[in-house]
Amino acid sequence: MTERPGDDLSSPLVPSDPTARATTAPGPAASDPTAADETVPGTAAVDAAVPRGAMLRADGVTLAYGSTVVVHDVALAVGDGGVGLIGESGSGKTTLARALLGLLRPHSGTIRYGSRDLGSLDRKGRAEFRRAVQPVFQDGSEALDPRMTVEASISEALTTHHRMDRAARRARVTSLLEDVGLDPAVAVRKPHQMSGGQRQRVAIARALAVEPRLLVLDEPTSALDVTVQARILDLLERLAAEHGLGYLLITHNLGVVDRLCDTSHVLFAGRVVESGSTRDLLTRPAHPYTLALRDAVPRLGGKPPRPSGRTEAAPAASGCPFRLRCPLATDVCRDQPPAAREVEGRRVACHRAEEVLAGVPNRPVSR
């Protein structure tokens, strides 16, 4: 996995947690002795994937609705700066976000805030966690109570943790609205009286009201018009820099992570299939899925994108989950789930990563 021996924060992952493996189909995280041997301490990519002193960290997290496992044995960490989590709809990214926000208890594995498990936080610790980690959801109209004015929504955030008199609250609401680029006059409006972009700005102002240290951004722009998306991304980038915020950016949009995240993880069918520096992932993908995602991005004036592989197939239940969509899949992919391993500076869970990197042409392979 992504942690190294000697890193005391992350050491008790798979070995000490037998349930994680019992309930999970052996996925990329399955402890393959050879993979563990290959994990050379101090490799740059590993540092990038799981920064030291991470504020929010998931280790071996498996999430399930009833008996349906939607996230398998995922490890990631967010501290300073931006971390991207890329995946298409149904890949489990929103479920993972909810777990990281403490809204969902992991089936197995741990989510830690600093050095403490979220599940075992006391009242005070929980309040501290709530202040430190704030979400921005996909749609501002969902994140704001339709019956509350902007001022009431933001005031709720202000008064949840501190007493504040009316005048101070007013002043703070005004400064927060200005901070996110809104006319303070919108304070009297209700969500349905604003545009999508304005609502998202209000949702951001509300999240900032508690002075968080980390934001979990779950598709923060995908419900918006393209021009508005760019403005909201500008805003998030500026605010993160000004307030020194770390953030986890969850998206299916590669352009967005390219701009805002140094490190990224690619999620497929609830498993992290590739992680490393965003630049590496986008310029030289090592996993065929990352490659397919990148090739699916339309370019202005270019040929229509032609994603590689059979993109509609459901994830496979055995072996490599991506094999039914993979142009390079072979018998090994059918028989053995690929373990995560180190390939050219990133972690990738693919038997044929070297060939992907070498640029093997996409061709159907008989199975």
Binding site: L103, R131, V133, P146, A157, R231
Partner: protein, 296 residues
């Protein structure tokens, strides 16, 4: 027109300042005609009930007055709806009866609405064992035929208007609990509830500040639809001698007392019967109108 905000974000113009009159007119124009008709009819009935002592031609006849010499007079200029067995003016008694029926309807809807909504919203938000416990209890109540349970209760308690209210409310609240629970459960999955949770807002505040107000609309529609049903049930209980009793003016009771006279003195039973019909109809029309408006 939109004016640019401080950093170029467009700010849509605020709605024009509205006067009370324009708001009233605008509100009326937006309301469904059916709902409006129901509201007007119900408004008239409420007005009649409120003004009964002033508009009733013989205010004393609302109570225990008797005029044996004027018994069972057919409708005429002096007694529009005729008189009953003891010579009381039927129109006056119908007007006073509106008071009894409306008090019963409002009290039952308020009692069962409050109990049902509070239990339902807690069940819907909490899920888990809290939901199971509350829903099983409502199932037990729903397992009895409503009228039968009301009857049993009314028999055990002393017959009176209060008894009628309690007996009906006991069988009525589980419906609101069920409806509210299902609405609240779906409201609880919405982003603003998650987002309040992430702010660290305590659960009771989330329930009463966010979940409850956003779950109320369908319950209000159901309440107005049920007004008619409550009045009919109350009339049925009084008719069976388990509710209001002489000399209280109550429509169900008046129907019961007049039914044996139907072939000879039709007016004694017909007018209170019509009053029940019209009031139940007004509630239903209002409810249907509100529901139609919601569906749009």
């Amino acid at each position: 027109m939109t004016a640019p905000g401080p950093s170029g974000a467009p700010v849509a113009p605020l709605p024009l300042r509205r006067t009370a009159l324009s708001r009233l007119v605008g509100g009326l124009a937006g309301v469904d005609r059916l709902a409006l008709a129901g509201a007007v009819l119900l408004g008239l009935i409420v007005l009649a009930a409120l003004l009964a002592p002033w508009i009733a031609p013989y205010p004393d006849d609302g109570g225990s007055a008797t005029h044996p010499l004027e018994a069972l007079l057919p409708p005429s200029g002096a007694h529009w709806f005729g008189t009953d067995q003891v010579g009381r003016d039927v129109l006056s008694r119908v007007l006073y009866g509106a008071r009894t029926s409306l008090v019963i309807a409002v009290a039952v809807l308020a009692l069962s609405g409050i109990v049902g909504v509070v239990l339902g919203v807690v069940a819907g938000y909490a899920g888990g064992w809290e939901r199971d416990v509350i829903m099983r209890v409502t199932d037990v109540f729903l397992a009895f035929p409503a009228l039968l349970l009301s009857l049993a209760l009314a028999v055990v308690l002393q017959p009176s208007v209060t008894t009628v209210i309690v007996a009906i409310a006991v069988t009525w609240w589980p419906w609101y609990a069920r409806l509210t629970a299902s609405v609240a459960a779906s409201v609880s999955t919405r982003g603003f509830v998650d987002s309040a949770c992430c702010l660290g807002v305590p659960a009771p505040l989330i329930v009463f500040r966010h979940v409850l107000p956003n779950s109320l609309t369908p319950v209000l529609v159901q309440l107005s639809l049920d007004g008619g049903g409550v009045i009919l049930t109350a009339a049925a209980l009084s008719y069976l001698g388990l509710g209001a009793h002489e000399p209280t003016a109550e429509w169900g009771l008046m129907v019961q007392q007049g039914q044996s006279l139907f072939t000879t003195d039709w007016w004694v039973v017909t007018f209170p019967g019509l009053a029940i019909l019209v009031t139940a109809f007004a509630f239903n029309v209002l409810g249907e109108g509100l529901r139609a408006r919601l569906a749009r």
